[in-house]
Symmetry: C2
Subunit: 158 residues, 2 copies
C-alpha cells in the first residue's frame, strides 16, 4: 500500500523511463540492451509509455546563454482579488508571455510564482514595466534575480 500510481509500470518500464529521461535520443537498440529486453519488446514498451502519457515529450535542452537568454528571474505575484475570474484571466495572459517558463499557483505570501528568462536585466526591466505589472489583476510583484543557477531542471527522483 504505497506504490500509489506506479502500479501499471513494472521494473522494465521504470528502467526505460529512467534511461530516456537521461538520454532522450537513445536508439531503440541501445535502450533494449540497457534494459535487457529484445528490441521488439523494448519498442512496444516505449511506444506504450508515449501513447499512454507516461512520457509527455522529448526535448532538447538548449544552453540559454547560447540563444541570448542569459538572465533568469523569479517573480512572486500577488493579485488584487481572489476570485476564480481573476485567476483565470491572469493565467490566460501568462500563457501568452513566452518569457515566462514556469508559472505556479501557490499557497503562501504570493498567489503565483513565475520563472522568467530574458537576455539581461535591462530586458527584464522592460518586461516588468510593460508586461508583468500590466497583467490582469496584478496588485504587487516581488523580483528575485538569480545570481547563480546551482541546480537546474534535475531528473525526477523515481
Amino acid at each position: 500500500m504505497e506504490e500509489s500510481s506506479t502500479e501499471t509500470l513494472d521494473r522494465i518500464d521504470v528502467r526505460i523511463l529512467r534511461a530516456l529521461q537521461a538520454e532522450g535520443r537513445l536508439t531503440n537498440a541501445d535502450l533494449a540492451a540497457r534494459v535487457n529486453v529484445s528490441a521488439a519488446t523494448c519498442h512496444r514498451r516505449t511506444q506504450r509509455l508515449f501513447e499512454e502519457g507516461y512520457i509527455t515529450g522529448v526535448r532538447a535542452e538548449i544552453a540559454p546563454a547560447a540563444v541570448g537568454l542569459g538572465a533568469l528571474v523569479m517573480v512572486g505575484v500577488v493579485l488584487d482579488r481572489s476570485t476564480p475570474e481573476s485567476f483565470a484571466a491572469f493565467e490566460e495572459a501568462v500563457h501568452k508571455l513566452k518569457e515566462v517558463l514556469d508559472c505556479n499557483l501557490v499557497a503562501g505570501d504570493f498567489d503565483y510564482l513565475l520563472k522568467i528568462r530574458v537576455r539581461d536585466m535591462a530586458d527584464f526591466n522592460k518586461l516588468h514595466g510593460q508586461k508583468l505589472i500590466a497583467l490582469p489583476g496584478v496588485r504587487q510583484t516581488r523580483t528575485f534575480f538569480v545570481m547563480k543557477e546551482v541546480k537546474e531542471n534535475a531528473r525526477l527522483p523515481f
Copy 2:
C-alpha cells in the same frame, strides 16, 4: 550590435534548435526536411550543436504523477551567515538531495529558492523536518505549496 552571443548561429542552426527543443526525437531525415537542408548537412549541423554545447542534452519528460511525484513545492531559504563557505556548503548538500529539482541563488528576501518534487504533503513534511532544515547553515525556510501548475518548463523564447 545586439545579437550578443547568437553570432555563430545562422538561420538554419536556429531552426534546428527550435525543432529539437520541441521534438527531441526527430529523425535526422525529418529534421532535414523541416529545416530545408540535405540530410548530410543537417547531420553535420546538429552534431556541431551538440559538440559545441549549444544543446546540452535531450531528455524525455516523465509525467510526475505517473511515477509517484504528484506534489510540487517551492521553498525559500535564508542562511545564517553570508560567507562564501556557507554558500558552498549549502550548495554541495543540495546537490545530493534528489528531491530538489531546481536551486537558485537569488537576490531578495531569500538566499536560495528551491523547487522540490515529492509524492505528497506528508512526504514533504518528512523531507522538510529531516533534510531541509538540517542543511548546513539554514536559518529559516518558507514553504509555498503549489496548488496548480499553470505553466511548466516552457520552451525557451528565441
